[in-house]
Symmetry: C2
């Protein structure tokens, strides 16, 4: 076992596990309704919406597929810049949807102007964006892309904020985003197993005209259950107890302070990398605040570094994802980390560099 | 808060929560693979299969819809005898599938002869059965129905064992069942949020010919991930830690002893009911071993009984589900309960009867 500084799941605190260990309750009664209701203000603040925030008993991919299923009636445009955003296009294909994509090299960000040019071709009614592409450490220009998409009548925007929610502000209502979704095992520092998401009224209206939506991921079922402070299917009650605890902690810390803490912790890793000649995989200005993706320098024995960091110091970082495995390595600063705990990681990484990889 | 004797979720033990509170691990590494692998022999024994048992990050309804999505190419026959089995037909309709049903009165069991007569009409390729209808306390004749279904070439059988798994033997391979599924918050006594299921090779073969299966509930994605001891989407790691613990407890107890314990605990509630003139809603011979569904006698103030049992004694039982709410009440004996803990419940119920409802 090692403390996780991989980009999700991340370290879950003892206090969170204690909250999750509360006596089990039924999910069709007043106790659960109160629990559900207690999560709404905090989630709405994180997502930037006055709409209800739904709790899905699934990982984020369930909701990512649900958005396609409920909202794509013509053709979806997937904005692809890494493993997860690319895969969203694969999911659209697996569903037999009419789809196209903008594909940029991994490590690059999506250009809003390219989105504009593509949408001008016509025929689209849905765009998918991964805000913070966890595989490459690129944070896309959400505001710029949302502005472009909203300028096209009848085109809706679905945004995966899996690894950016609670790290940077998300302004769903202000930007006119139609679906915002996230898993809970990233910056919210909960065990995986649940997703949260909100839908605009426009999204709900479109779903109403969509045939054969099924049941489990039917947006209208979530919309119907929300005023009753409940979920269509059996909820992941213990994780929701954990979520209630984390949202309480976020409220105590304050959103601005939380965003600033993540930015400062992220900067510490950037500074550490700069000191050792590790270059960012993501371009300046579009770098994630949740995690850092470094290019593996020529001759740097990344796997020895990661192995000793784990076995000698008990810290887990990640050696790159998918086709950039080995070529990059990633360090998360999400969740409950402080300057002190980030410094402990940095000290350990320095020791490993000095001892095993002759890099200083 | 009250100790749950409702038919799911049920009481989760301190030891289970402790197991769930183990240090978080990544889901794409050796530690998770070992965890996943450790669950397989125990789950295979419970389900009666040599096939891999998949872990779905969803409630059981996700898998119930997935079975329809992956396996129905012609027409599905839903066997309906209560809230959950009836709803499965509703889900088939919501997906736009060609469907029909056998509907019996709530409280009755499905007659294998009726299934035979219906399938003889032809055109079906899938049958859904809820083995233990949690809303009515009826346990259907799984063996008889499976024998009928398997006598029809090209008709596959999906069985929901949500509230029977680990209470009575399930013989998937022997009976030739194509999908067996269950949630973990019933007799396995885990928090809700995950489902387990196994698919026959015939089911996998049919899915291979099914277009537009999507991704999240694509049986082939589960089949592909299983040999790597992994899941297609991010797994509910803490619940799986809990599952590992529970399966260890089941192994220690022994399956036969577990089945016998549930039967004995269930009999205690039947005996208690008989003593007080509470009749079973389910017919003799088809009564669940997981829970007991009693008819509310004329003049018996059920809601006062349930309220005082909770507020005065800290035990929660359930006042009937769906359209038989109030007309019935249900008491679970699933999970970790012993003769002693069942007796504590019975003593408390007797006290409430004596004090508040003048029934002895």
């Amino acid at each position: 076992m090692a403390k996780l500084f991989i980009p999700g799941p991340i370290d879950v605190s003892k206090e969170t596990f204690a909250a999750m260990s509360q006596t089990m309750i039924g999910h069709r009664g007043a106790e659960f309704e109160a629990l559900y209701a207690s999560t709404q203000p905090g989630l709405q603040a994180l997502i930037g919406t006055s709409r209800p925030v739904f709790l899905s008993t699934s990982s984020a991919w369930g909701v990512m597929e649900a958005a396609l299923k409920n909202l794509c009636q013509k053709k979806v445009l997937n904005l692809c810049c890494g493993a997860f955003s690319d895969k969203w296009n694969g999911v659209a294909k697996s569903m037999g949807l009419d789809q196209d994509k903008i594909q940029v090299e991994w490590g690059e960000a999506i250009d809003p102007a390219a989105v504009k040019a593509k949408l001008e071709e016509g025929g689209y009614d849905l765009v998918t964006l991964v805000h913070n592409e966890t595989s490459t450490g690129v944070m896309n220009d959400l505001e710029g892309i949302a502005r472009v998409v909203k300028s096209f009548e009848g085109v809706q925007l679905v945004v995966d904020t899996v690894s950016s929610l609670s790290v940077v502000p998300i302004e769903m209502d202000k930007l006119g985003i139609d679906v915002v979704l996230a898993g809970v095992q990233k910056a919210l520092a909960l065990p995986p197993g649940m997703a949260v998401f909100a839908c605009s009224l426009d999204a709900i209206k479109r779903a109403e005209t969509q045939p054969n939506r099924g049941y489990y991921f039917d947006l209208l079922e979530f919309e119907k259950a929300a005023p009753k402070n409940n979920t269509p299917s059996t909820p992941s009650i213990s994780i929701i107890f954990g979520l209630q605890y984390i949202l309480g902690e976020i409220e105590k810390e304050g959103l601005e302070a939380r965003f600033a803490r993540h930015a400062a912790n992220n900067q510490m890793i950037h500074d550490w990398g700069a000191k050792h000649g590790f270059d960012n995989f993501a371009p300046e200005g579009r770098q994630s605040k949740s995690l850092t993706c470094f290019k593996t320098p020529e001759g740097f024995d990344q796997s020895t570094f990661i192995k000793h960091l784990k076995t000698d110091h008990g810290y887990a970082i990640n050696g790159g994802y998918g086709k950039i495995k080995g070529l990059t390595f990633r360090i998360s600063n999400m969740g409950n980390e402080t300057q002190e705990t980030m410094q402990e990681l940095i000290d350990a990484m320095d020791q490993v560099l000095n001892t095993h990889t002759a890099r200083s």
